[in-house]
């Protein structure tokens, strides 16, 4: 397995607030890696830094062996590192189909149609609603659209930020099933979640974040039975 993402000693600040403190971790090809932690632990900040929306003051981020620490967000996407942002952030004024087209912005026009069919196969609901504008979709459908939109870029690594946020339990299960399916089909995924139970149950490896630091790391299946983790995140 080759290394696909290597994050090395990054430090991120919001003004005077030191949000990320010396975080290092990696993702290998074909893995699901999850970052779990409470609100404000720095999970989303970490993902936003990797995707180039925020910048680290120190260290380096390597994607497929080249540094992306200073690359602009749109160039990072065209290298195959794609993020589904927190709160989905689909384009509410664009139709479902146009949202998917935007996901394929960096790809040649000739390949868009077949990718779109694959996304529709994965999410038949989106096909039914392809001419509707994004703002008319339900929360679950918007999450499907956000994931479908990211898949349109044919990502080499897909980062998901809180895909279960605000969804009904049944839909949470569905979204995690889809993530597990994508993983089985060979996708590499970096997953950020507050729903630690669900995240750990599908992850190969996990990192636990607390106030901007990695405090624990291990296999998903080990952490799920770790007494400290149980107490802090799994409510047992």
């Amino acid at each position: 397995m080759s290394r696909i993402l290597d994050v090395n000693e990054i430090n991120v600040f919001y003004g005077a607030i030191h949000a990320i403190k010396d975080i290092s971790f990696y993702v290998d090809e074909g893995e699901i890696v999850t970052l779990i932690g409470a609100n404000g632990a720095g999970k989303s900040t970490t993902l936003n830094t990797i995707s180039g929306l925020l910048r680290s003051k120190t260290g380096d981020i390597k994607f497929l062996d080249s540094s992306i620490a200073k690359t602009s967000p749109n160039k990072i996407v065209s290298q195959g590192l794609v993020m589904v942002p927190e709160g989905r952030r689909i384009f509410l004024g664009l139709t479902v189909e146009e949202n998917l087209e935007m996901g394929a912005y960096t790809r040649p026009k000739s390949e868009i149609r077949s990718s779109m069919e694959q996304v529709y196969e994965l999410f038949p609901r989106l096909k039914e609603r392809r001419t509707q504008i994004g703002g008319t979709l339900s929360g679950g459908e918007q999450q499907m659209l956000a994931m479908g939109r990211a898949l349109m870029a044919k990502p080499k690594l897909m980062m998901l930020d809180e895909p279960s946020m605000g969804l009904a339990p049944l839909l949470v299960d569905l979204i995690f099933e889809i993530i597990a399916d994508l993983h089985k089909a060979g996708s590499t995924i970096l997953l950020v979640e507050q729903n630690a139970q669900a995240a750990l149950s599908i992850a190969d490896r996990a990192y636990v974040l607390e106030t901007g630091k990695i405090v624990k790391t291990g296999r998903g299946s080990d952490l799920i039975s770790d007494p400290d983790i149980k107490k802090a995140y799994l409510g047992a």
């Binding site: 929306l53 065209s78 942002p85 709160g87 384009f91 664009l94 979709l137 339900s138 918007q142």
Partner: protein, 293 residues
């Protein structure tokens, strides 16, 4: 007032309204994408008008060349202003951007006084002649202005709704961060929006000159403000809104003038603005969509 006079005034109104609409589109598109009221937009028209004037009156170039020159220079100027004055302020508070836009407007107006002189430049009409429809006399200028504007608007609608670049513009205007996560280049998309908006202003300057045959350093400020009112009236950020707003303002002015209150037509425009802001602050077509969680 006879019926034929009313029709004639309506056509006049549609003619000025077309120019307002073209300029309002530039305001609205730029506001839509970077939330900036680009008060320098009106002054781009002024520069475009001087280009036509000098090309024809001083260098005796054919009108087509003058028109291409005006559109080209307007486009270039709009993009240059964006790159030099607005891009460095992208993450600054919106107020800094607004004040900068007012500064650029002053710079252009005073720069024009220095370069072109403070006096008005008059030229021969670009288009002459008229045609009778029944008992209504319609100038060719009015016909050309209205037809050209309508064609441009259809083209613009096509670009914004059907092309990849247009969809990217809509994506950026809705959510800059998410658009970047699609791989859309902000710099390129924003510059393109300024280029299109300024090109429309360039076309507006030619049509304005066709109607009024005069260029002056401050001509852009009132025209710009009227177009701004049109954009707000239609719902700022909305492209069809800008068109409807432009035509509404133009026709309103013509009707107020036809009723014998020529002196009051500017006041009427701003009165309508105040009423709209009081009762429907988002304008005719502006609306907010709720995000679902």
């Amino acid at each position: 007032m006879t019926f034929s006079l009313l029709i004639a005034q309506l056509i006049n109104g549609l003619q000025t309204g077309s120019v307002y609409a073209l300029v309002a589109l530039g305001y609205s598109m730029v506001y839509g994408i970077i939330k900036l009221l680009n008060f320098a937009h009106g002054d781009i028209i002024m520069v475009g008008a001087y280009m036509v004037y000098y090309a024809i009156a001083s260098f005796a170039l054919p009108p087509v060349v003058a028109i291409i020159l005006a559109i080209g220079v307007s486009t270039l100027l709009g993009v240059t202003v964006e790159k030099v004055a607005y891009t460095p302020l992208r993450s600054a508070p919106r107020l800094s951007l607004l004040i900068t836009a007012i500064g650029v407007s002053f710079l252009l107006e005073n720069g024009a006084q220095l370069v072109f002189g403070a006096d008005q430049k008059s030229m021969d009409p670009l288009i002459t002649g008229s045609v009778m429809f029944g008992r209504v006399n319609v100038s060719y200028t009015a016909i050309v202005t209205i037809v050209v504007s309508l064609i441009i608007m259809v083209l613009l609608w096509f670009v914004v709704n059907k092309t990849k670049a247009g969809k990217a513009m809509r994506a950026v205007s809705e959510d800059m961060g998410a658009a970047q996560l699609m791989g859309i280049s902000l710099n390129r998309t924003i510059s393109m929006t300024f280029a299109i908006g300024s090109a429309l202003a360039g076309i507006g300057s030619v049509l304005y000159l066709a109607a009024y045959t005069q260029a002056s350093p401050t001509m852009g400020s009132m025209l710009g403000i009227k177009a701004f009112v049109a954009a707000v009236l239609g719902g700022i950020g909305s492209i069809p809104g800008a068109m409807i707003g432009g035509f509404t303002i133009g026709v309103l002015e013509a009707l107020v003038a036809a009723a014998g209150f020529s002196m009051w037509k500017d006041a009427a425009v701003f009165l309508v603005l105040i009423i709209v802001l009081l009762f429907k602050p988002t304008g005719f077509l502006g609306k907010k969509m709720q995000e679902k969680v």
